[in-house]
């Protein structure tokens, strides 16, 4: 693998780094050895490191990498930036970095690459390889990097930058994260094709494993349902008996309803007849009564021409209907008396003889008697018709009442039948479920067998990879020991061990070879393998990881060279360890080597910068190996107000009196 050798970084038109009137903008050349980026908090040290990183990655990220989590297992893919991510640098300045351009020059083996990007969007602006412009596209850039760095995919390049080259403030760990380590080791020490094959197997195992677990969950649910069904089948006879009873009730009710409907239709027709008969009888009786009234009325008018019409009307009613309209009483005797008086010409009120009898509109007593008789017959017919109507209607209403009752019965039975049928366990359903379960079991067995087969194959592939990496492990350990002993007082060495990862949840874990740390601590002389970074001090943790990265660059990198970019390393160092850290860093990038170490510092009151300055022969802030953001960056309010103090700190950091040799 070719690690990048960073050679130059320039930022133009970006308000964060306006530069000076003599030297506008920012233009830093990274010479072999150490380069220091110095500045107070807020002057853009970390931003500058990030600019460098994003020039190398472009607007892409490892999918699923949240920036804080460990890398974990699963296949890694690339994802393009989304939403506001490409505007990370634009948001930092008022003009949205519309004219800002950043460029980086770096070597990858024998290739010399120059890349420039717009800081507003990270879009590629120019791309040259060995001085020749090439197609300006992310695809071309990524292809170029993959080919020149000797990695399988561009995502591998991102991993190298994130886990080896750049040491950001978040201190992403490599030696303490076995899943990240096995990826890095694999991509550093095995051919890309082998890595792809392992990735494919992992993907297939995870997919089949997930499917198998889903099938198993479905199977369990179906088995539970079957159990319930079979339990319910034991209550079947009771339910069947109820159902049969309900069906019989419904059938009987419907049959009776049908009969009743037929009966009511017949009765309705009869009622229509009897109603009509009644109305006609009534009309006939009324007509006859009126005819009789007409004669009677005429008789009264003849006998009493001067009587009021009301009196005549009332007397007529009595004579025709035996009824007194004044009081509503039936008065047959009074009618007979009236009739008698009228017949002989007596006064109907007092009985005195007053005149000859009238002819009653020419009607004889025989006529009257006949009319009376006809009227009585008509009244009898009306009474009969009324009785018929009443009987028919009573029967009809009884029919309707019973029909309504039966309707209720049928509806209630149907509701209960539906519910019973819905919940009625059926042997056929159980049988169908049993068959489905059998199919699911077979499917699940096949899936599990597939997972286990693939796992065996993956295990075989991984062991082959482990063997390949093992060829380098001795050299990595030796390189690590060299860096570690310069830094640590404890005995600390790498152990070539294994980490079992569970790829999917089924079957055995896969044993990936990884490096682990063996240390002796203050409490014991015996070396203890530290699989996690717990129990190790912050400075130890970081510099063990740094030593591991350096060892990997030394062993895996062509000619053992590379770049290390470390943001604010002194933040975790105490006074004793600072000079040792400086020795390790300058030792990695000696002036004779092509390797570069770029370190940012905010000039905390410590020993790191003076020691590095002395060991790397950096004379002062004007040295070309110092990027002095106090001059280049837009000053913060603190810098404006406390400039003298900051300048004194800067002077002291590079002062010969502060150097270890002068102490």
């Amino acid at each position: 693998v070719q690690f990048p050798i960073l050679r130059r970084l320039a930022v133009h038109g970006y308000d964060l780094y306006p530069g000076t009137s003599e030297k506008p903008d920012l233009d830093a050349t990274f010479l072999p050895g150490v380069t220091l980026i110095v500045g107070a908090n807020g002057l853009g040290k970390s931003t500058l490191i990030l600019v460098l990183y994003r020039l190398l990655t472009g607007p892409s990220e490892v999918a699923g990498d949240t920036g804080t989590s460990v890398l974990g297992s699963g296949q890694l893919t690339l994802r393009p930036f989304r939403d506001q991510e490409p505007r990370m640098f634009a948001r930092r300045v008022a003009d949205q970095a519309v004219d800002a351009l950043a460029e980086v020059e770096f070597s990858l083996g024998d290739r010399y690459v120059q890349v420039s990007r717009k800081l507003s969007t990270l879009q590629l602006s120019t791309l040259t390889v060995d001085g020749k412009a090439v197609d300006v596209s992310e695809a071309a850039f990524q292809a170029l990097i993959v080919e020149a760095a000797g990695v399988g995919h561009f995502v591998d390049w991102l991993l190298i930058l994130r886990y080896i080259t750049f040491f950001f403030e978040d201190r992403r760990s490599l030696v303490w994260d076995p899943t990240a380590q096995r990826r890095i080791l694999k991509l550093l020490f095995t051919p890309p094709t082998q890595e792809d094959r392992i990735g494919e197997f992992e993907k297939r195992i995870l997919s089949t494993d997930s499917r198998a677990r889903n099938t198993r969950a479905t199977l369990a649910a179906e088995e539970r349902k079957l159990e319930q069904q079979e339990k319910a089948l034991s209550t079947l006879p009771v339910q069947q008996a109820e159902l049969e009873e309900l069906l019989a009730t419904r059938e009987d009710s419907e049959r009776e309803s049908e009969e009743l409907r037929e009966r009511s239709a017949a009765l309705d027709a009869v009622r229509a007849d009897v109603r009509l008969t009644l109305l006609r009888a009534r009309e006939h009786r009324t007509s006859l009564a009126n005819e009789l009234e007409s004669i009677r009325f005429q008789q009264i008018r003849d006998a009493f021409p001067t009587s009021s019409e009301t009196a005549a009307y009332l007397l007529t009613q009595i004579l025709a209907e035996d009824k007194c309209s004044a009081c509503g009483t039936q008065v047959p005797d009074f009618r007979a008396a009236l009739e008698e008086r009228l017949a002989v010409g007596d006064c109907v009120v007092c009985g005195s003889h007053i005149s000859e009898p009238g002819d009653g509109a020419g009607a004889t007593s025989a006529d009257l008697a006949e009319l009376q008789e006809r009227l009585e017959v008509a009244e009898g017919a009306e009474r009969e018709a009324t009785a018929n109507r009443d009987v028919t209607e009573a029967e009809l209403r009884q029919c309707w009442g019973r029909l309504a009752e039966l309707d209720q019965v049928v509806r209630a039975a149907e509701t209960r039948i539906r519910r019973l049928e819905l919940n009625m366990p059926q042997a056929s359903r159980s049988q169908a479920r049993r068959e489905a379960i059998r199919d699911l079991r077979r499917q699940n067995e096949e899936e599990i067998a597939g997972v286990l087969r693939d796992k065996d194959e993956l295990d075989r592939l991984v062991q082959a990879v482990n063997l390949q990496i093992a060829e380098y492990q001795g050299r990595v350990r030796a390189a690590f020991d060299g860096y570690a002993e310069d830094f640590l007082l404890d005995t600390c060495s790498l152990v070539w061990g294994s980490n079992v990862e569970q790829v999917g949840l089924l079957g055995k874990g896969i044993s990936f070879s990884v490096f682990q740390i063996d240390m002796s601590g203050a409490t014991t002389d015996a070396e203890v393998t530290r699989r996690a970074s717990d129990g190790v001090s912050e400075s130890q943790r970081e510099f063990i990881d740094l030593a591991f990265r350096m060892a990997l660059i030394q062993v895996a990198g062509t000619e053992g060279v590379g770049s290390l970019i470390m943001d604010a390393p002194e933040s975790s160092l105490d006074a004793v360890f600072a000079p040792r850290a400086a020795s390790v860093l300058t030792g990695f990038a000696t002036p004779g080597s092509e390797s570069r170490v770029i370190i940012t510092s905010n000039l905390v009151d410590g020993r790191l910068i003076p020691t590095i300055a002395e060991q790397a022969n950096i004379d002062g802030p004007d040295d070309p190996r110092v990027v002095n953001l106090f001059e280049i960056a837009t000053p913060t309010r603190a810098l404006d107000q406390l400039r003298d103090l900051y300048m004194e700190a800067l002077r002291r950091a590079f002062s010969p009196e502060e150097r270890p040799s002068a102490q």
Binding site: R275, T286, N290, Q317
Partner: protein, 218 residues
């Protein structure tokens, strides 16, 4: 003691005569009282009022209500109505009473004032009076023709000497209900909104009036 049905019929007859008299039509022919009562029954579903007669025989003349005739006789007997021009007309089929009726105000007003004080009774009497006023507007003698323009009466499915249903029964509407439901729907479509019972009554009788007038015009 008169039954509730008797009292309703008596009140119906009294309100009809009173209604006609308030439009200066008096004395009121007894046939007109029967015609008006028939319309009250026919329109009773609009007001949710029970009709006096549940079935009516469709005849050549105005349908006669026996219950109403008994009520008229009773009112005459008690002096609330005064008959005049009493006569009996004989046709080939039947003999009918012809008489004109006048309200005896001295007695009738006491009854009508008492009715006004009762919310339920006054609602029914105002409905009856509205129908009477609408018939009176058609002019003397128009009541018979109005009956024959009535949608119930002219129902082609019910021939002469057949029965007209005025009361709904188990599971089916009465003839009058069906007719009035159609009429209400038509009116709602035409007017664009739901009409009140008074508006529908006025609209229906106005419709009859226009039909009668159209028939009378040369």
């Amino acid at each position: 003691v008169p039954s509730d049905d008797d009292l309703r019929a008596q009140l119906r007859a009294l309100s009809i005569v009173s209604g006609f008299e308030s439009t200066f039509l008096y004395p009121v022919p007894v046939e007109m009282v029967h015609a008006c009562s028939y319309f009250c029954d026919a329109l009773s579903p609009l007001w949710s009022i029970q009709p006096i007669d549940d079935i009516v025989l469709k005849t050549e003349g105005v349908p006669l209500s026996p219950a109403l005739q008994v009520a008229i006789d009773w009112l005459v007997g008690h002096g609330l109505l005064v008959p005049s021009g009493v006569a009996y007309a004989k046709t080939a089929r039947q003999t009918r009473l012809r008489a004109d009726l006048t309200l005896n105000r001295a007695l009738a007003n006491r009854v009508l004032e008492a009715v006004e004080a009762d919310e339920k009774l006054s609602r029914e009497t105002s409905f009856v009076r509205e129908v009477a006023a609408a018939l009176a507007a058609m002019g003397p003698g128009a009541e018979t023709r109005a009956v024959f323009h009535d949608a119930n009466y002219q129902d082609p499915l019910a021939g002469m000497q057949s029965v007209l249903d005025l009361v709904p029964e188990e599971g089916r509407s009465s003839a009058t209900q069906s007719v009035l439901r159609s009429f209400s729907a038509l009116a709602r479509t035409a007017m664009g909104s739901e009409l009140s019972e008074s508006e529908l009554t006025a609209l229906y009788t106005r419709h009859l009036q226009s039909l009668v007038a159209a028939q009378e015009s040369p």
